[in-house]
């Protein structure tokens, strides 16, 4: 059995080495990313004790169907993103290596305090990456909000420890089943705030606009797909599987999710800059995923989360590259930019249409699954809000696509000679990987059974019939 702790320690070791081997930093980052992608296919599900004390007394890593799928997707996306924005990784190689270790740690750990430590590691790398844009006040804002958030998470966690005497996820979960959950509102809500800051839920997302709105192709796509994906997978683990929520708390969390979803889509509708449209769409998607996890729908939510992070990786890379080269990302100044970059244009379009959830794209499969799940739970209000959000989403994405494809003024003749004179050169890596990802989205949309058989075959427990993954291992106890 190969121990999944290697996914955490090898990037960390290479991060230390990269300080000494300054000239080969970039290669070390690439080696670590490839090692992790290969490693994900070798590791086997199970509970792994770290440090020699059995759970729940010691720390363990939980590799079950859910976290295995999460590390698979996150590591592959990380590799693809650093390959796509290859020219920008040199400066941040050490930070990215630490981030890779922290992200894997967050997904694998079976201990709530360990989760806090990895959350802080990932947040600190996030603060450092956000300084790339040289807009330090936004980084400072992010740092203050992130630190307060994780402080509140720790506060709630310590109250839970004082009540249950354990930090092991599965142990706490078992003990909560026989406890009056109505008395646990304060600690659970504090932990919720802690994760909601990083997961971008309203009203804890004041930092997002400054950080995402100024990010370049590498940092924007990392934040929007790898970081956001990890946080939401962890959110699903903690609030969907570990903590037992009372029905009042579920109602409050669903309300926060719905408000985030609608407000995010409306804000995106009112924007003109490509990155701002995408970042508000990311906020809305986070609200959607969080509220679905809280309602207990795991399988369709994971599908929707995959849809969000894969399409956002493509779209943020393209938007970041456009604004790096053309010095603007206002859609009105970039009319017809895709007419000269057809492959990139097609990839962006496929991603946008999949995010909306049009048939023939993968997004349709995830959205129909989550709507069916909501109907089976008789949750018609939430389903209605999701459909409303889809209409708004469709309106602004199609408006954006029309602007980026057709040169010339609206309502007048469209001719190739009206194409914006701002030049954007996409390199080979970006073209190939973006096109490959959009091809996967298309294939998965035409034949969803491919996703199920290939992606979920190794995770035989991750399916509709058996939505409980945590307890097959019992946290190693």
């Amino acid at each position: 059995m190969t121990n999944p702790v290697l996914l955490i320690v090898v990037p960390l070791l290479l991060a230390f080495l990269s300080v000494a081997l300054k000239n080969n930093k970039k290669q070390l980052l690439f080696i670590a990313a490839v090692f992790n992608v290969v490693g994900v296919f070798i590791i086997e599900n199970g509970s792994y004790v770290i440090g020699g004390f059995r759970a729940p007394y010691g720390i363990n890593l939980n590799l079950d169907a859910y976290s295995h799928l999460a590390v698979l997707v996150i590591n592959i996306l990380f590799l693809l993103i650093i390959t796509m924005s290859n020219e920008k990784t040199k400066e941040f190689s050490t930070v990215l290596l630490v981030a890779l270790a922290g992200l894997n740690g967050m997904l694998l750990t079976g201990d709530l305090f360990n989760l806090f430590v990895f959350l802080e590691i990932v947040s600190i790398t996030g603060y450092i990456l956000s300084t790339e844009s040289k807009k330090y006040k936004y980084s400072f804002n992010y740092l203050i909000l992130g630190t307060i958030g994780s402080g509140l998470y720790l506060f709630g966690l310590i109250i839970l420890y004082a009540i249950f005497g354990s930090l092991n996820m599965a142990d706490i979960s078992f003990k909560m089943l026989s406890y009056d959950t109505g008395k646990l509102v304060v600690p659970i809500f504090l932990m919720f705030i802690g994760l909601a800051v990083e997961a971008k839920l309203i009203p804890f997302n004041g930092w997002v606009r400054g950080v995402y709105g100024n990010a370049n192709s590498l940092i924007g796509s990392l934040f929007a797909s790898v970081y956001a994906g990890t946080i939401l997978f962890v959110f699903g683990r903690v609030f969907g599987q570990v903590l037992v929520l009372s029905e009042y708390l579920v109602a409050v969390f669903v309300a926060i999710g719905v408000i985030t979803l609608i407000a995010g889509e409306v804000a995106a509708f009112s924007k003109n800059k490509i990155r701002e449209i995408l970042l508000f769409s990311s906020i809305a998607q986070s609200g959607l995923v969080a509220l679905l996890f809280v309602t207990g729908l795991i399988f369709p939510t994971v599908l929707q989360l995959l849809n969000n992070i894969i399409t956002k990786a493509v779209m943020f890379t393209i938007a970041g590259k456009i604004s790096d080269d053309a010095d603007t990302d206002e859609a009105d100044k970039l009319k017809g930019i895709f007419a000269n970059n057809k492959i990139i244009g097609v990839s962006f379009t496929v991603s946008a249409l999949s995010l909306i959830g049009l048939p023939l794209f993968y997004g349709f499969y995830s959205k129909i699954n989550l709507l069916l799940g909501l109907f089976s739970k008789i949750n018609y209000f939430v389903a209605a809000f999701i459909l409303l959000a889809t209409i708004i989403e469709g309106a602004y994405f199609i408006r954006l696509l029309v602007k980026l494809w057709t040169p010339g003024e609206e309502g007048k003749e469209s001719n190739i000679k009206f194409v914006t004179d701002r030049k954007v050169e996409f390199d080979f890596n970006k073209k190939v990987i973006a096109f490959m990802l959009s091809l996967i989205i298309l294939l998965a949309g035409i034949s969803p059974s491919l996703v199920k058989t290939n992606l979920f075959a190794m995770n035989k427990l991750l399916n509709e019939e058996n939505p409980s993954y945590m307890f097959e291992l019992k946290g190693g106890m």
Partner: protein
Amino acid sequence: MIQYVSIVLMLIGIYGLLIDRNIIKIIVALNIFEVGLNIFIVSVGFVSGGVAPILTSVNSNSALIYVDPLPQALVLTSIVIGLGTTALALAIARKMYNAYNSLDLDEIGGMDND
């Protein structure tokens, strides 16, 4: 009792974060918040009349009342993380001073003035 003191400290920290406009004072307020949190964590493990959880020649009986050692280990981690965050915040504050020539958030300006 000590729990209430630590919660008051945390609230003082949050109050400072909300009303101070000077970056250095905000970092100080953040530290007050973290100190309050750390005192709360240690207080969770407190047992009245308990001794340190180490077997010595004086306390050689495992049936004695010991305080809970785990929160002390947790608070050590938490302090180190707080130190790292503070160092990074001060580094960013220095960069901000170089970029905007001010440490006051009101003078630096908001979202729409860049």
